[in-house]
């Protein structure tokens, strides 16, 4: 193993070793917070390593790549894990959910994401995705006090296993055509443009259907509201931001390698159309805030699919930008919800009435995140949508772009409903909610990045390069 190999593998190693150390320390020490602290340190350390790593190209001995995109996403996932750990520490203490397994599993999930990000073969890519999903099965079910949490975990597991079966079959068909698991080779053989192989087409259909489950695109979206609703709030933040981001990255690693992705235009077209319409329209009727955000996430994945319809470099760049932006935004949104729930807030919109006065900080963050989701200008949500629609229009998908813009306009209504519930309903003032320093720091950083990403997208876009 050479030194560059070591540098490239270091974030992965840090995350894995951190998870193991957390488990061991948790088994020895009686105090839960030591586990969280070790986990946070190793996640941050992994993020720093990713930023420090020398910019070398592909390394053949380990089969891990280290392009700027890869390092951007790896550090994003690590930072997100650290943020979620900070948020969970207080949330879990409050909910009486003890144990070192939780922080260790968060690190493991981040490990899966990082492995996925740096994969150069379909095997590592698939296993990274599965490891991440597997971590989420445990995390979703982690609230043992509530039966509903384990129920949700089981449901998520069944859906996840089904989707991984589709994914595995799709990859198998692609392999049987290309004869290689290396992504570059497999993509160039199966999406070659001329002389399309029917087996490859079938493989891609299965693969896309499997990914539709993971991304909750419309024909495979039904699990999303239930899972978002039944999961501990910090985990929802990670699930919404991290898992969607990693699944998008899965597609973004594969698609740009193809010589001609034109044959995938049609499925993405339908995914985009249905997700945008059904996601936004279902959210209109929803009264529980997490289910509302779940439908909104379906709609946002529709926008990303729109960017993939474009199929050009700018489309992929827009999709990657949106993955980052959506990750940060949902971290802010669900982080704020976690803070509020920790202070005894219920699940429906009615419970959020008057929260703006009781908890101005969390409400402010939530409002900002909702503005970003709605696509109000100075935020990352606006810039992301702008990039997506620009790429779509450039590729000539006029109808779809116009439908997309209309659904964005519709979506503003239900985001505003939440905001109006927060601020424009007076309720009896009882007491101010408490926020810990960690929560304030995390939410402030997340909100600041939502705005900064929106104002200065160029720096980020420069990092998002695709072969």
């Amino acid at each position: 193993m050479m030194a560059t190999d070591f540098w490239i593998a270091l974030p992965l190693l840090l995350l894995a070793v951190g998870a193991l150390v957390t488990l061991v320390v948790g088994a020895i020490s009686r105090n839960d917070s030591s586990g969280y602290i070790i986990a946070i340190i190793s996640a941050l350390g992994a993020a720093c390593c990713t930023l420090q790593a020398p910019p070398v190209g592909m390394v053949s001995t380990l089969g891990l790549s280290s392009t700027s995109t890869v390092r951007l996403f790896t550090s994003l996932f690590c930072l997100m894990a650290a943020a979620v750990l900070v948020l969970s520490k207080e949330y879990n203490k409050h909910g009486g959910n003890r144990g070192e397994e939780y922080p260790a599993t968060i690190l493991f999930t981040a490990f899966g994401m990082a492995a996925l990000a740096s994969a150069t073969s379909l095997l590592t890519l698939f296993l990274g995705l599965e490891a991440m999903t597997f971590g989420f099965y445990i995390l979703v079910a982690s609230d043992l006090k509530r039966e509903a949490s384990v129920e949700t975990g089981l449901k998520y597991l069944l859906i996840g296993a089904l989707s991984s079966a589709f994914l595995a079959f799709g990859i198998a068909l692609i392999y049987s055509v290309s004869g290689s698991l290396a992504i570059t080779q497999a993509m160039q053989t199966t999406l070659a443009g001329s002389s399309v192989n029917p087996v490859a087409v079938a493989g891609w259909c299965f693969l896309l259907f499997g990914m539709a489950f993971k991304l909750s695109l419309v024909p495979a979206h039904l699990w999303t509201p239930d899972v978002y609703d039944g999961t501990p709030a910090p985990v929802t933040a990670f699930l919404s931001g991290g898992s969607k981001g990693a699944s998008l990255l899965f597609l973004l690693i594969l698609l740009p390698q193809a010589a001609d992705a034109g044959m995938l235009r049609l499925p993405f077209w339908w995914f985009a159309l249905l997700s945008m319409l059904i996601g936004n329209l279902s959210a209109l009727r929803e009264n529980r805030i997490r289910r509302l955000l779940a439908y909104s996430s379906i709609a946002h994945m529709g926008y990303v699919a729109l960017a993939l319809v474009a199929g050009s470099f700018s489309g992929y760049q827009a999709a990657a930008y949106y993955a980052v932006a959506y990750g940060v935004i949902s971290l802010a949104a669900f982080g704020a919800i976690a803070v509020m729930e920790r202070n005894g807030c219920g699940a429906t919109l009615d419970d959020y009435r008057g929260r703006g006065a009781r908890n101005p900080f969390a409400s402010g963050v939530l409002t900002l995140a909702l503005f970003a989701l709605a696509g109000i200008p100075p935020t990352a949500g606006f810039t992301g949508k702008f990039l997506i629609f620009a790429a779509t229009l450039k590729s000539g998908e006029m109808t779809l772009a116009i439908i997309g813009m209309l659904t964005v306009a519709v979506s503003i209504y239900y985001y505003l409903r939440v905001i109006s519930a927060l601020y424009f309903n007076t309720s009896e003032q009882t007491h101010q909610d408490q926020c810990t320093i960690g929560e304030v720091v995390v939410l402030s950083i997340a909100s600041a990045s939502v705005v900064l990403l929106g104002l200065f997208p160029a720096r980020l876009l420069a990092l998002l390069t695709f072969p």
Binding site: L122, L123, F126, L127, E130, F134, Y137, I138, A141, L144, E147, A148, V150, E151, T152, G153, L154, K155, L157, L158, G160, A161, L162, S164, A165, F166, A168, F169, I171, A172, L173, Y175, S176, G179, S180, L181, V199, D226, D229, G230
Partner: protein, 118 residues
């Protein structure tokens, strides 16, 4: 290669479809649902092994091996969840796994003497 690759692929798709049918018709029974998913994954493994044989490379076999390991983790976790839920509500019906229903809703309480045993 003893048979053309197409025949392997057709057999695998047949198995995959059978697994899918199993998942779709036994939506309410977690055990059968998991079995259906296992059948689907086995179909994927068959394709990988056939492909590995066709191309004379070991990659496909390794992927099949990894699928096995992955699916065993999934099954063990799923069954742990089933046991957890069963201890609390005496049912393994997926239709009851909706958060809107009142919790503790039980059905067809069976003899539990066995579950107390080691």
């Amino acid at each position: 290669m003893i048979v053309p690759l197409q025949h392997v692929l057709i057999l695998a798709s047949l198995l995959f479809c059978l697994g899918l049918v199993c998942v779709l018709i036994w939506r309410s029974n977690i055990i059968m649902l998991l079995i259906g998913i296992e059948i689907m994954l086995n179909a994927a493994m068959l394709v990988f092994v056939g492909g590995a044989n066709h191309w004379g490379m070991a990659d496909g076999q390794i992927f099949a091996l990894m699928i096995m390991a992955m699916t065993s983790t999934e099954v063990s976790l799923a069954l742990a969840m089933v046991v957890y839920l069963y201890r609390r509500r005496k049912s393994v019906d997926v239709d009851e796994l909706t958060n809107q229903r009142p919790l503790g809703h039980t059905e067809a309480s069976t003899d539990t003497a066995v579950s107390q045993q080691p």
